[in-house]
């Protein structure tokens, strides 16, 4: 499914400075029973966000009204575990368009790129600075510029550049996806396929 374009994003952020946030926390398996992609945001971080009786856990960051925005800042090894794209859908559906971490799990990172959430990998020290800034001011503004591949803490006036392969970058800037690309090389794939022995 092709998605929205992504060029720049200026927003406050939710801080979640926990390591190894796995996909079972992002969206527990019992919420994977849908056959359509909708409503997953309601169950984002379900068991960290709600008590068993459905009442919100007040100390969890997504329930804290002082935080807002379209950016989620996670600890290192964010998104480890399962390949469920539902995790990326839940992040998107909640309203996030960007996740910042000093280290991402591979499949989650790919899934984000495929659904229109930009994974921005920063250095550990820059991640620390972001957490510190949000700690001091919950409304800390962060600017992501995909074209320039930069992430900026606006109040501090400090920036860092991030990596993204050029192909994926173009896709996000233009709202294309891999299927659009592959559909245009059908003949090449057919020829290749016929030459396969098994």
């Amino acid at each position: 499914m092709a998605y929205d374009t992504f060029t720049t994003l200026k927003s406050s952020a939710y801080p979640l400075p926990i390591e190894n946030v796995d996909t079972d926390q992002i969206i527990p398996a019992r919420f994977l029973k849908a056959t359509e992609r909708k409503g997953f945001g309601d169950n984002l971080f379900r068991d960290w966000r709600y008590n068993a009786d459905g009442t919100p856990k007040e100390n969890f960051v997504l329930n804290n009204t002082k935080y807002s925005g379209k950016i989620l800042v996670g600890g290192p090894n964010f998104g480890s575990g399962s390949s469920r794209e539902h995790a990326a859908w839940a992040v998107y559906d909640f309203g996030f368009r960007c996740v910042i971490s000093s280290f991402f799990a591979d499949i989650f990172k790919n899934n984000c790129l495929n659904v229109g959430v930009l994974p921005v990998q920063v250095s550990e020290s820059f991640a620390e600075k972001i957490f510190e800034s949000i700690g001091k001011n919950a409304n800390t503004q962060i600017e992501i510029n995909l074209e320039k591949q930069t992430v900026t803490l606006i109040d501090l006036g400090i920036s860092e550049s991030f990596d993204i392969n050029n192909y994926k970058k173009e896709n996000m800037l233009n709202g294309f996806d891999d299927i659009d690309y592959l559909q245009n090389m059908k003949n090449e794939i057919t020829v290749f396929s016929k030459a396969r022995m098994l």
């Binding site: 068991d47 790919n110 392969n165 290749f192 098994l198």
Partner: protein
């Protein structure tokens, strides 16, 4: 130029290299299940695209299936709808489908090898991170997201950057009571849960060479638990013997040609890796996890490490132990447990049931333990019966359930209640993985069996 087995198989499948971008990789086999495929089929429909190679696509229902009374209608309407959707999508697109109750049904990573769908030198994907299992045959196999499932259904290709290469060598003979699961948990404890992120792993050395195909599958299955996209083992005579004669493996002249090719699938002597680790089999004892990621494992005779000695930060570590209600410095042995789960794509094969039975034979299930014994497939279940293992299990007070993913991810009714401890042969001990609030101790089938008969964490070596 010298190359690794991973290079050889990967390069063989590159249809096009995108400039400053990923490779377009041809996929030989695509396995699908009910949870991660429905939205992909919806996407295809909305684009008006048909499945390009239904004959290379195989569907089985596993994640969401009940493990008792499979002949009755499924109670949960959402689960029932997911299974129905898979069946309809398979039918509509001419994809072979092993649904609930079918004699070939089972966990996707168990049935693939059983039917010869998994072969050396192939590229195999599935919308499930434990697709790495199939690497045991010298295939490149990895888990993908639903957008990628749609991509493969539409074009039989996936766009991926080639991962870096890691080799993990383990040499020597494993001690009594030490299994492939312990080898994998030991490696993950050394590398951490993200130590191989960005890499594709080759497992090499005499320890893996002496393993059965089932044991190799357990090792490769757990590659993702240290962050690796996949892991593979060079095929050998054991591999060829395993795949020969299976339903979808090549026959006659095709077999001869394939076999000649498969024999070339080895890493060249002077090939290099981006990272390499070497371990000794004799250093490995039966393992158990104490925390909330698979890297938090120790030898069963050891104590839970102190925060200063682990890779997790203090806050994360404290959160994890608090969830488990364990303390730093606690011995793992003799900790009381409530549940035992034998099964999953990690340890739901015949060898695992043989191992479990070898310990419980002549003993009785502890009264305080609820045990779920879930075969990986109907074929495994039949084997359990045919080999007389079922009699041993029954005699010891255990019952066998129907195949499925079951309590590994607790999508069905097999949920460990909040606060309860489960010794599980599955692959993840994440918070709530086996049910909200559940506490998981990952271990081998032998450790699970020892816990099942004693009701507490027990070194299985005392029963051998």
């Amino acid at each position: 130029m010298s190359s690794t087995i991973f290079d050889k198989v990967w390069d063989e499948h590159v249809v096009r290299k995108v400039k400053n971008g990923p490779d377009v990789l041809f996929i030989d086999r695509h396995l699908i299940h009910e949870v991660t495929s429905p939205v992909a089929f919806l996407g295809l429909k909305s684009r008006g695209i048909k499945v390009l190679h239904p004959e290379k696509t195989f569907a089985t229902a596993d994640h969401n299936t009940p493990t008792i009374n499979q002949h009755l209608p499924i109670k949960d309407p959402l689960s029932a709808n997911q299974l129905k959707t898979l069946e309809e999508n398979a039918k509509e697109n001419g994809i072979s489908h092993w649904g609930l109750g079918n004699k070939d049904n089972g966990i996707v990573h168990v049935v693939g090898p059983e039917h010869g769908i998994t072969l050396p030198g192939l590229t195999i994907v599935c919308g499930d991170s434990h697709t790495s299992t199939h690497g045991a045959f010298g295939a490149i196999a990895f888990g993908i997201g639903t957008s990628e499932v749609e991509m493969v259904l539409a074009n039989q290709c996936i766009m991926q950057e080639k991962p870096k290469k890691m080799r993990i060598n383990v040499n020597g003979k494993l001690g009594a009571g030490v299994t492939s699961k312990d080898v994998a948990l030991y490696i993950i404890s050394k590398l951490s849960t993200s130590g191989a992120t960005g890499y594709f792993v080759e497992y090499a050395g005499s320890t893996f060479e002496s393993m059965s195909m089932e044991s190799r599958m357990t090792v490769c299955n757990l590659s993702i638990e240290m962050g690796a996209r996949g892991g593979m083992i060079a095929p050998d005579e054991k591999t060829f013997t395993y795949v020969k004669g299976r339903e979808f493996s090549p026959k006659g002249k095709k077999w001869d040609t394939a076999l000649a090719y498969w024999k070339t699938l080895k890493t060249d002597l002077d090939a290099t890796f981006d990272k390499e680790y070497t371990f000794k089999a004799s250093d490995i004892e039966p393992m158990i996890t104490y925390g909330t990621n698979p890297g938090m494992g120790i030898g069963i005779s050891k104590e839970i490490p102190f925060a200063k000695d682990v890779c997790e930060g203090e806050i994360t570590y404290a959160k994890s132990l608090n969830y488990m209600n364990f303390n730093q410095g606690d011995a793992m042995q003799n900790k009381p447990i409530d549940f035992v789960f034998l099964g999953s794509c990690t340890n739901g094969r015949i060898e695992d049931f043989r191992a479990f039975a070898s310990i419980v034979k002549g003993r009785k299930k502890a009264e305080n333990v609820t045990a779920w014994l879930v075969p990986g497939s109907h074929i495994v279940k039949k084997q359990i019966n045919d080999e007389g293992i079922l009699d041993i299990l029954t005699e010891a007070g255990f019952a066998l359930r129907e195949p499925g993913c079951s309590a590994c991810l607790a999508m069905n009714d097999d949920k460990v209640p909040a606060g309860k401890y489960a010794v599980s042969t599955s692959n993840r001990n994440f918070e709530g993985r086996q049910g909200p609030g559940s506490r998981t101790l990952l271990a081998s089938p032998l450790v699970a069996a020892a816990a099942a008969v004693t009701g507490k964490v027990t070194d299985p070596r005392k029963f051998i």
